[in-house]
């Protein structure tokens, strides 16, 4: 059962990655392609801190914190230099490639001799705790005034302006949190696999998007609170299916295609069977309203 365990563990790590990408891709409606650089960035940062003798928990936290600077860079590029966000993300990714190599002076860093956060207990348990912690914090954040403005920025910038707020401020916050989570995910992956490598970021955005898409198919209640859970589950499912493909001994040449087909299958299921899932829907009419909770119930809820 080690294969299943590994898949779930990787799924949890990628769940954190996916939560980060969820913020930019789904909430802010921005394509932040810097993740391919930020993911290894977190790993390389971790390697640097741990090699300086800092304990693994703090090293991981610092990797997450400094990793959020990638989001700052991307924001500066599109707010100050007026570069299109999608391009800004690519530029950040490109810059991070060189930065990553510079941090430790090497493109591959073994971590076998260092402690890791997984020394605290079973790897699975530690990951579940971290993933849940991130999820809960994110959920709480999204219920705050700032969190809601983040959602509103992705939904309708005119509204945010009408509230007297600056959209760029919330895009910055969103990008920094997102990149911080991606970097955290990279730092955890490095500890999981035992080494850091410059190629770690390859195809990582596919994993993130696949996780989000697969997560979308599960229990389509549209409450944003549950979105974070769905994204983590999506990542785990994606990895489990990938693990099954490997376990079945599929022709190795077909592995990448199989992973792509998994994503396509879920998208098709989403679109064909469940009606096009649009975050900004154009539904209409009193008929569509399903929720008629009395006021008292609502007061209790909040």
């Amino acid at each position: 059962m080690k294969l299943l365990l590994t898949s779930v563990e990787q799924g949890l790590i990628f769940g954190i990655l996916a939560m980060g990408v969820f913020i930019t891709y789904k909430i802010l409606d921005m394509a932040d392609l810097s993740v391919e650089g930020t993911f290894p960035f977190g790993a390389f940062l971790f390697a640097k801190f741990i090699s300086l003798g800092i304990n693994p928990i703090l090293s991981t936290l610092l990797a997450c914190l400094f990793g959020s600077l990638a989001g700052l860079l991307t924001t500066l590029l599109f707010t100050q230099l007026k570069i299109r966000p999608i391009l800004a993300g690519i530029l950040t990714m490109t810059i991070l490639y060189s930065v990553n190599l510079k941090i430790n002076g090497r493109s591959n860093i073994p971590l076998f001799d260092y402690d890791s956060v997984f020394d605290l207990g079973s790897t699975l348990l530690v990951l579940i705790i971290i993933a849940l912690l991130v999820k809960v914090l994110l959920d709480l954040f999204l219920k705050t005034e700032t969190g809601y403005l983040l959602i509103a920025t992705g939904d309708n910038e005119a509204l945010v302006k009408s509230l007297g707020e600056n959209c760029n401020k919330y895009k910055l916050i969103g990008l920094m949190i997102a990149n911080g989570l991606v970097a955290l995910s990279g730092a955890l992956m490095a500890q999981h696999q035992g080494f850091v490598d410059i190629t770690m970021g390859a195809s990582i955005i596919v994993v993130a998007l696949a996780s989000i898409i697969i997560g979308d198919t599960i229990k389509k209640k549209s409450s944003l609170l549950k979105s974070t859970t769905r994204v983590i589950i999506g990542a785990i499912i994606y990895k489990i299916i990938g693990g099954i493909a490997i376990d079945l001994g599929l022709n190795p040449d077909d592995l990448k295609a199989v992973n792509a087909f998994i994503v396509i299958a879920f998208i098709a299921y989403n679109n064909v069977a469940l009606d096009l899932f649009k975050f900004n829907g154009k539904g209409g009419g009193v008929k569509n309203v399903t929720n008629t909770q009395p006021v008292q119930e609502l007061q209790q809820r909040y």
């Binding site: 809601y148 939904d155 009408s162 509230l163 975050f279 539904g283 309203v289 929720n291 006021v295 007061q299």
Partner: protein, 255 residues
């Protein structure tokens, strides 16, 4: 009171496509009253609204709101005391969020946004009260996502949200133009109720002359960046306005 002094605005300045919309334009909007601004396309009424809201920046001149010079404030800063309802029902709300969440956001305008929980359950009765006034049954749908509401419902909600914190000035940007006649009527009625109840200083842009006369205290007609009519609504009839309008159109066609 809104005072516009010597306002000038041109588009495509310095090119051969330069259009001078306003040149040394002056206008005073009375406090606590509703002023309708009408005119043919291109007369500058939308531009004027955008200049007041800060969406466009004037080339020259001053805009004073209650004696405060707001000419150099950004759109966001002005939004703290200027409410606006757009023509597009989706522009005033966040479709993914619920009615309750939208109202909670509007409720916090001007109070600063931090890491406090957004939804304050103690304020729910207040929201219900405001929604009840709309007679649309929305008070029972606080937990419904706004994207499931009709255009008229969204516009009504936008109106509520724009006025909740009693802005010094309310801008209505052809806010019923995208609605069907019946809904448009309902929303206009509610608009009138609201602005009369709170004596809100309002500028109301409309293509509909009847609405302009019926729902405002004063009607201003613009043409090519100039005021060509400025009368109290009760002194006007729809026919009169149509007449002037047609004459202006003929003039334009003859050019």
């Amino acid at each position: 009171m809104l005072r516009i002094r010597n306002l000038s605005k041109s588009f495509n300045k310095g090119t051969e496509n330069q259009v001078d919309i306003f040149t040394n334009f002056n206008l005073t909007i009375e406090k606590n009253k509703c002023t309708a601004i009408i005119g043919p396309n291109g007369c500058g009424k939308s531009t004027l609204l955008n200049l007041i809201s800060g969406t466009f920046k004037a080339d020259d001149g001053q805009i004073l709101l209650n004696d405060k010079d707001i000419s150099n404030l950004t759109e966001e800063k002005r939004a703290l005391f200027i409410g606006r309802v757009h023509q597009d029902p989706s522009m005033g709300v966040s479709p993914t969020l619920t009615i309750l969440e939208n109202m909670s956001l509007a409720d916090k305008k001007g109070e600063g946004f931090s890491l406090r929980r957004l939804v304050n359950k103690d304020r729910i009765p207040k929201y219900v009260e405001l929604l009840k006034d709309l007679d649309l049954g929305l008070e029972n749908k606080l937990n419904t996502q706004v994207k499931y509401l009709s255009g008229g419902q969204r516009q009504s909600l936008s109106l509520l949200m724009a006025t909740m914190k009693f802005p010094d000035l309310l801008l209505l940007d052809e806010h019923t133009a995208a609605l069907d006649p019946k809904t448009s009527h309902v929303v206009m009625m509610k608009t009138k109720e609201l602005i009369e109840k709170y004596k809100m200083t309002t500028i109301f842009i409309s293509h509909n002359m009847r609405d302009a006369i019926q729902y405002s205290d004063r009607v201003i007609m613009l043409d090519q960046g100039q005021v060509i009519l400025d009368k109290a609504s009760k002194e006007l009839t729809e026919e009169e306005l149509m007449d002037i309008y047609r004459r202006k159109l003929d003039e334009h066609l003859l050019h």
